[in-house]
C-alpha cells in the first residue's frame, strides 16, 4: 500500500477540497492534525473503498493525513492513537506500514491486541506486524480464531505460521472438540496445512 494509491482511491469523496486543504495544512502545520484526524470520517465518509480492498474511506483519509506530516510520524501516530476513538485508533494501525518509522510503534500493536475490540485486533495484524515478535504474533493469531476474526486479515500468515502456532491451534481444536464446539473453517484449514507441512 502507498499513499499515492490511497490518494487516487479518495478522488470521489463528497468534499475533496476539505481533504486537499487538510493535507496541505498538516504538511506545514503538524500541530493541526488532531482536529482534522477527528473530523475526517464525518467529512469524507466511512464506507468501504472498492480499491484498495479492505480499506474504508475514513481509514484511507486518516492514513493520508498521517503520511502528509513533514516528520515526527512515530510520535504523531502514538498521540493520535492514544487520544483517538476506536475508528481513529484503527486508522492509525492501518497507516503504520505507510510511515517512515521502523519498529517504533510496536507498542501500539501490543495495546490493540490486548483490547477486546476485534476491529483493533484485526487492524494490528496488517503488514506492520512484521515488527511484532513471534510469540506475541502467535497469541494474536490465536485470539483471532478465538474471537471469530477471519484469518484473512492476518498479513503474511502462510509464511509466518510455524510449528508452535500449529501446536497452539491443535490444543485449541481439542478443547473445542471436547466441548462439542467447532473450529472456524479458516483455522481448521490453517491447522491442516501446518500439520501436513510439518509431517512432510
Amino acid at each position: 500500500m502507498t499513499p499515492d494509491r490511497l490518494r487516487a482511491a479518495l478522488r470521489g469523496v463528497p468534499d475533496p477540497q476539505w481533504l486537499d486543504a487538510a493535507l496541505r495544512r498538516v504538511a506545514t502545520e503538524p500541530a493541526a492534525i488532531p482536529r482534522f484526524f477527528a473530523a475526517a470520517a464525518r467529512r469524507c465518509g466511512r464506507g468501504p473503498l472498492p480499491d484498495p480492498p479492505g480499506w474504508t474511506v475514513d481509514e484511507a483519509a486518516r492514513a493520508l493525513l498521517l503520511a502528509a506530516l513533514p516528520g515526527g510520524h512515530a510520535a504523531a501516530a502514538e498521540a493520535l492513537y492514544r487520544h483517538g476513538d476506536a475508528a481513529e485508533k484503527r486508522a492509525v494501525l492501518r497507516a503504520l506500514p505507510l510511515l517512515p518509522i521502523g519498529a517504533e510503534c510496536v507498542p501500539l500493536l501490543h495495546d490493540a491486541i490486548r483490547t477486546n475490540d476485534t476491529r483493533l485486533v484485526a487492524a494490528a495484524l496488517g503488514p506492520y506486524a512484521r515488527h511484532l515478535e513471534q510469540p506475541a504474533w502467535r497469541q494474536a493469531v490465536l485470539k483471532c480464531v478465538f474471537t471469530g476474526v477471519p484469518l484473512a486479515v492476518v498479513d503474511d500468515l502462510t509464511d509466518r505460521a510455524d510449528g508452535e502456532l500449529a501446536q497452539m491451534l491443535a490444543a485449541f481444536a481439542a478443547e473445542r472438540h471436547a466441548a462439542g464446539r467447532t473450529m472456524p473453517a479458516d483455522a481448521t484449514d490453517l491447522l491442516d496445512r501446518l500439520t501436513t507441512t510439518t509431517e512432510a
Binding site: 477527528a38 473530523a39 464525518r42
Partner: protein, 283 residues
C-alpha cells in the same frame, strides 16, 4: 416501534440489558457522561471514562445492533472537587470526536459557585464546538434549580433550540416549555416520572420538542421504560406517528444538530413512515 433512548448510562448496564433493549426496539442510545456513584479523584479517571464512551461502549452496543453515541462533560457534582476541575481542559479534545453529539450532562447539583463556573464554561464550549447541550436539573430544590439553569442558558448565548433540559416533572415543565429549549423526561420505576404521568404530560403539552428517556444507570432504573411509555401512549389513544415522533424523530432531530449522528443501517423507518433522510443529522 423504533426507539432512540436519548439518555442512558450503558456503562453501568449489562449485556443482558442490551439484548432486552434491542428486542424491545431500542436501536440507538446517547450515553451522557455523568458521575459513577464512587467519586473520582483525578483527571485520568475521567479520561479513561471518556475513552470508554467513544471506544469500548459503542463497540459493545454494536454487538447487539444498538448504535451508541455519547455526550461528554464535567458533571456538576464533581465540578465541586478541585482535583476534578482540570477535566475542563481535556474536554475540547473529546468535543471533536465523531461519537460525541453534545456537551453534557452539565447544570446544577447543589448550586454552588464552582457549579456556576463549570456550567457557564461548558455552555461556552458547546457554542465553540458547534454542539448542542444536555442539561441535568437538580433533584433537590428543583424548581429554583431550573429557574437558575434557564437564566444561565439565556446568558450564555447558546440557541435555546440546541439545549435539552432534562429530568423535568409536572412542576418544572411549565418553567421550560416557553423558552424554546427541548423538554427531557426521565422515566423511573418510582421517582422522577412514570409512564402514566408522562402520557398525561404529553396530553397537556403535546409531542413537540419532548424527549423521553430511561436515564437508566447504576441506581434503581429500567432501560425498558421508554418502550413502556410508548405502549402507554398507544393505550391512551396516541397513534404510531406520535410514538415515533417522541421515541425516535425528536431525539434524532435534537442530537442531529451536532452534524455527527450516524444512524446508517439502524434508522429504517417503521412501515408507516416515508423516508427520513433529512433527519440524518447534517449529512
Amino acid at each position: 416501534m423504533r426507539i432512540f433512548d436519548p439518555h442512558i448510562h450503558m456503562t453501568s448496564r449489562t449485556t443482558d440489558d442490551y439484548e432486552r433493549m434491542a428486542a424491545a426496539g431500542v436501536r440507538a442510545v446517547v450515553e451522557p457522561a455523568f458521575w459513577l456513584g464512587q467519586p473520582r479523584t483525578s483527571v485520568d479517571s475521567f479520561v479513561d471514562y471518556f475513552d470508554s464512551l467513544i471506544g469500548w461502549e459503542p463497540f459493545r452496543a454494536g454487538q447487539f445492533g444498538v448504535r451508541h453515541h455519547a455526550t461528554v462533560a464535567l458533571n456538576p457534582k464533581e465540578a465541586n472537587d478541585p482535583r476534578c476541575r482540570p477535566v475542563l481542559d481535556v474536554l475540547p479534545r473529546y468535543l471533536e470526536k465523531d461519537g460525541v453529539v453534545a456537551v453534557g450532562e452539565i447544570g446544577y447539583d447543589a448550586m454552588t459557585p464552582a457549579e456556576d463556573a463549570a456550567f457557564a464554561g461548558q455552555l461556552a464550549l458547546a457554542v465553540a464546538h458547534d454542539l448542542p447541550a444536555l442539561v441535568h436539573t437538580p433533584h433537590r430544590d428543583k424548581a429554583r434549580g431550573v429557574e437558575r439553569t434557564l437564566a444561565v442558558v439565556a446568558e450564555s448565548g447558546i440557541a435555546p433550540g440546541r439545549v435539552l433540559v432534562d429530568h423535568l416533572n409536572e412542576v418544572t415543565v411549565r418553567l421550560v416549555r416557553d423558552t424554546g429549549c427541548w423538554l427531557g423526561f426521565s422515566i423511573y420505576p418510582e421517582t422522577k416520572m412514570s409512564p402514566p404521568r408522562m402520557v398525561e404530560l404529553l396530553r397537556t403539552y403535546g409531542t413537540e420538542r419532548v424527549l423521553v428517556n430511561s436515564a437508566a444507570d447504576w441506581g434503581r432504573s429500567d432501560p425498558l421504560l421508554t418502550r413502556a411509555t410508548g405502549e402507554a401512549m398507544l393505550a391512551a389513544g396516541f397513534d404510531d406517528d406520535d410514538v415515533d415522533r417522541v421515541l425516535w424523530r425528536n431525539p434524532v432531530e435534537f442530537y442531529g444538530q451536532s452534524g455527527r449522528l450516524d444512524l446508517t443501517d439502524v434508522d429504517a423507518p417503521a412501515p408507516t413512515f416515508a423516508g427520513n433522510s433529512i433527519l440524518r443529522g447534517g449529512e
